[in-house]
């Protein structure tokens, strides 16, 4: 049914194009990296593969955030925590794969545990020597945390800025916890110095290309899943909760369950993004829990256009490419630029790049229609159609009538 809709719906051509591009990139970039001679002008250097692979993970994280923020109105400032938890789960698997090749050569304990005088492996490290177990944990740990956290928060109707603040507090608490050496997660230094993933060398070009392809394919899958969720009847409910939560509740829907589902799915997606990110950058440390990281993710989604599927992906790629460029050329000014971006996007681009593109094209189409009418000399009896909005319900705030004035805190 999904495939049928996928090919039939003309309006969702953009999704199809995105998935197609991602799959094409997943094949072409590794080919250009591995099969083409380094002297050729088509050659893609390995560092570009690693960098873009990292960006694709960020894009997946931004898409995950967009599912809750853009479509459900939950501004989570703690999505970096789910990302980092997924990353830690993968990092633990990679640590166990080092085996006796560590600096201390202990076959069971990772280096930092030997260094910190651990007698034996802590219980929560058991099982991480199997990839299937780590893969389950990548999904289960962020999902479970999001489920428990969301169940408490949504049930007692913690909404709006309060929810944002307590999600921030959550990631801050995890940051402090993971910084502790006796937590058994490597403390300050985190997990690093990985050797193998599934028996392949993490540093090798072929493995990196494979990880890149995996990231692109996963992102394509995530786009498909998000699109399926948003397009379904449940998706309509999601947007109804976003735009008028009380009204939805009065109509008999359980708003908290609607939100909980989206929040959990989103956290799982963020966890997968983290798990793909760690082998590509080669380290995971508590810094990933920084509240500022989570806020940056929000900006990616905002720049690209929240409430759209393609927007967060574009936003993540554009902002991170800009960050790489800026920190290379003008490292002093990156924070000015990022801060300015926060302000400019909220003030001038509330719908992001994609939203602006849509409204610009909608205006252009309306103008063209008007000029055609002008030329043919026929004055339409009906006024020109209102500007075409892709989906009225998908732009937040359209249905709610709150005016542009401050509201006292709830």
């Amino acid at each position: 049914m999904i495939t049928g809709r996928f090919f039939a719906a003309g309006a969702d051509r953009r999704i199809a194009i995105t998935i197609f591009i991602l799959l094409a990139v997943a094949i072409i970039v590794p080919l250009l990296n591995l099969a083409v001679a380094p002297t050729s002008s088509f050659y893609v250097p390995s560092y570009v593969v690693a960098l873009t692979g990292k960006y694709l993970c960020y894009a997946l994280l931004a898409l995950a955030l967009d599912l809750v923020w853009g479509y459900c109105g939950i501004l989570s400032l703690g999505h970096g925590a789910f990302f980092a938890l997924g990353g830690y789960a993968m990092g633990m698997y990679l640590m166990r794969q080092i085996g006796s090749r560590g600096v201390y050569g202990n076959p069971l304990l990772p280096d930092f545990m030997v260094f910190l005088n651990y007698g034996e492996l802590p219980w929560f490290w058991y099982g991480f020597d199997h990839f299937w177990f780590a893969a389950i944990m990548v999904l289960a740990v962020p999902g479970l945390l999001a489920f428990v956290f969301g169940w408490f928060a949504f049930r007692s109707r913690v909404t709006g800025v309060y929810l944002s603040i307590i999600t921030q507090a959550m990631t801050y608490a995890l940051l402090l916890a993971f910084f502790r050496n006796d937590m058994g997660f490597g403390g300050n230094n985190g997990l690093t110095d990985f050797k193998d993933i599934l028996g392949f060398n993490v540093q090798a070009d072929a493995t990196r290309s494979a990880l890149f392809a995996a990231s692109a394919v996963t992102l394509a899958l995530a786009v498909l899943v998000t699109w399926a969720i948003v397009g379904s009847k449940y998706g309509k409910l999601l947007m109804a909760v976003r735009d008028a939560e009380s009204r939805t509740r009065f109509l008999g829907w359980r708003a908290e369950n609607v939100k909980l589902f989206a929040f959990t799915v989103s956290a799982v997606m963020a966890g997968i993004a983290g798990a793909l990110y760690v082998p590509q950058v080669g380290i995971i440390n508590p810094g990933e829990f920084e509240p500022s990281n989570s806020i940056e993710v929000v900006v990616w989604a905002a720049v690209g256009g929240r409430g759209t599927i393609v927007g967060p992906i574009i936003g993540a790629l554009v902002v991170n490419a800009g960050k790489s460029w800026f920190t290379g050329v003008l490292p002093e000014f990156w924070l000015f630029a990022l801060g300015g971006l926060f302000v400019a996007v909220t003030l001038f681009l509330p719908k992001g790049i994609v939203g602006m593109w849509d409204s610009w094209r909608g205006n252009a189409r309306a103008l063209r229609a008007a000029s055609i009418n002008e030329e043919s000399g026929t004055h339409p009896a009906v006024p020109p159609p209102p500007k075409i909005i892709r989906s009225a319900a998908r732009t937040p705030g359209d249905w709610s009538a709150s005016g542009p004035e401050p509201q006292p805190a709830e």
């Binding site: 007692s156 709006g160 603040i165 926060f342 302000v343 709150s402 542009p404 509201q407």
Partner: protein, 588 residues
């Protein structure tokens, strides 16, 4: 005539026995004389043996000296001895002069010896006279070593400092401790008794007995008796004496007594051991009470810091529903204003340093309030009704402010000094209270009271409350709501600025200063309930105290995590905080 032995260990394993005698010439008067029969031994092992020999010589010399020394050395004699510092070429020569000074038994030598230990004793090159020097600006003020009167200034090049090392400092301290038992100033006698309590020695008993007999102040007398009891415990006195001593020390009930009794418990047996064990248990329970008191004080202190940081946020969040993520940066701006004010004062008006914070307060308020006003007019007013976007935009503003400060002042910590009235500490029982924490508590409560007055008793406060309760109705009544918004935001930011002045005294002034406070401040506001200043007060102090009580059990970091989790759980129960607004405005 009795004697007391003191050991000095000088560099190069030179063990010098330096004996002091006490002569009770008439009741109520103590005279101290001393002889320095220095003797060098090459190894530490032979020290015990040689000590007997040294003491024998010392005793003989003492007998002679004791008879010769006058009851009170004349000032001229003292000056003659002090003048020898000028010719002392090395540490041992200086030490010989020190011993000679102590031997006079005159309490007037405290001043030059104290100055020597501090490294404040100088020799004027021109006439080889000895002075106490106090560095003031580029020159040194010279004080008379005995009277302490000012006797001129000198450039640093005109004088030579008399060098001291740690061994010499220790010798001076020990000598002064014994000497000052008979000092006129009760504080000096208390210090001497404390030193003797911490370093008990059987030979201390007799001088202490004499001091107790002559002591007129009851509190000092008690301390002297405790010091004597401590010495009795290490002597070979009969068991009954020791039991009495344990009881006396147990009554003291502080950590020093505890460590002393623990040593006694380990080294003795029978009734004394049992008595010590009982006394230790007793002291432990007393100490637990004091610990709880100390934790409450730390908690109140932390609470006052949280209150200062959060109270501005409570106003903007409560009145306008605006999440100001740049609030922490306003605190930082206030701290940097203090830094700039202190720099100007240091460079141009050094005499005004004690007033620097008072001068910085209005400036910090103005700077932060102005920046707040610009943010409100420039960014936030376009985003009203969209709280989540406001949150993002102010986040951006905070990044810009942080980076701007980092570009101007550099990323390192800046040094902000404590004025003299804010440094140091005092004790209440076993509580140590630092002045800066106390002042910050007073200041936080003062700011709170002023704000409460503004909110409840001024027309502006009335307008703010009206806008909070019902914006449209307030606008219909002729209140200019945009102005109220702008001024409220400026007020909240200004308060953050003066919080920065206070926090600069206890925290590192760096561009990241604000980041550490923002999450805590939000927790306070959310916990206390918005739109209610009392909620913020209660929230800040209860979070502070809970945090400090958790710390000993869970450690600082885990304690903080527990608090965060508790707040997250608390919000489940009461989503609108401890003191929620009631009425229609809540669901507006």
């Amino acid at each position: 005539m009795r004697r007391q032995g003191n050991q000095l260990i000088l560099p190069g394993l030179t063990v010098v026995d330096f004996s002091t005698t006490w002569t009770a010439t008439r009741p109520g008067e103590l005279v101290l004389s001393s002889s320095p029969p220095g003797r060098e031994v090459s190894t530490f092992k032979s020290r015990q043996k040689s000590m007997v020999f040294t003491r024998a010589i010392g005793l003989t010399l003492l007998l002679l000296l004791g008879m010769l020394s006058p009851s009170n050395a004349a000032e001229a004699d003292l000056r003659a001895i002090i003048a020898k510092f000028a010719t002392a070429s090395n540490f041992s020569a200086t030490e010989a002069v020190v011993r000679e000074l102590v031997a006079t038994g005159d309490t007037a030598v405290e001043r030059p010896l104290g100055a020597l230990a501090e490294g404040d004793l100088y020799v004027r090159k021109a006439d080889s006279l000895v002075f106490i020097g106090k560095a003031a600006g580029g020159s040194v003020a010279l004080l008379d070593p005995l009277s302490g009167e000012k006797s001129g200034d000198a450039a640093k090049s005109e004088i030579t400092k008399i060098k001291v090392n740690n061994t010499l400092r220790r010798a001076i301290r020990d000598a002064l401790g014994t000497l000052t038992l008979g000092a006129k100033d009760p504080a000096a006698r208390i210090a001497a008794a404390d030193t003797m309590f911490k370093t008990p020695d059987a030979t201390n008993i007799e001088p202490l007995d004499a001091a107790i007999a002559s002591e007129g102040v009851a509190s000092v007398k008690a301390l002297l008796e405790q010091a004597r009891a401590a010495s009795v415990l290490v002597s070979d006195r009969p068991e009954a004496d020791k039991l009495a001593a344990v009881a006396l020390i147990g009554g003291r009930g502080d950590r020093n007594a505890l460590s002393l009794l623990t040593a006694v418990e380990a080294n003795s047996e029978g009734a004394v051991k049992d008595a010590a064990t009982a006394a230790i248990a007793n002291i432990n329970s007393t100490l637990a009470l004091w610990d709880a008191g100390q934790n409450i004080w730390y908690g109140i202190s932390l609470g006052s810091v949280l209150l200062l940081a959060a109270i501005g946020l409570a106003i903007t969040f409560g009145v306008m529903g605006v999440i100001n993520m740049a609030h922490g940066e306003m605190v930082m701006l206030g701290a940097y204003t203090t830094f700039v004010v202190q720099e100007v004062i240091r460079n141009s008006f050094p005499g005004l340093f004690d007033w620097s914070l008072v001068i910085a307060l209005p400036l910090a308020f103005s700077v932060a309030a102005l920046v707040g006003l610009v943010i409100e007019r420039g960014v936030i007013r376009f985003l009203y009704g969209r709280p989540l976007e406001t949150l993002l935009a102010t986040c951006g503003v905070s990044l810009i402010l942080q980076q701007a400060v980092r570009t101007i002042f550099g990323p390192t910590n800046q040094e902000v000094g404590n004025p003299s009235w804010m440094s140091g500490s005092f004790g209440i029982g076993q509580l140590a209270v630092t002045w800066n924490r106390l002042w910050i508590l007073v200041f936080a409560l003062g700011v709170f009271a002023v704000l409460l007055y503004v909110m409840k008793r001024t027309p502006w406060g009335l307008q703010m409350r009206a806008v909070t309760a019902n914006r449209r109705m307030a606008a219909s009544m002729g209140i200019r709501t945009p102005w109220v918004d702008a001024l409220t935001f400026a007020l909240g930011s200004g308060i953050a600025g003066i919080a920065g002045v206070a926090l600069s005294q206890i925290d590192n002034v760096s561009p990241n200063l604000g980041r550490g406070y923002i999450i805590d401040s939000f927790m306070v506001v959310v916990f206390g309930g918005v739109g209610n200043l009392w909620g913020t007060l209660v929230g800040a102090f209860s979070l502070g105290i809970v945090n400090k009580f958790l710390e000993p059990y869970a450690g600082a970091v885990l304690g903080k995590i527990v608090v965060l989790v508790l707040i997250i759980l608390f919000i489940q129960k009461r989503p609108r905080g401890l003191f929620a607004l009631k009425g229609r405005s809540v669901e507006a």
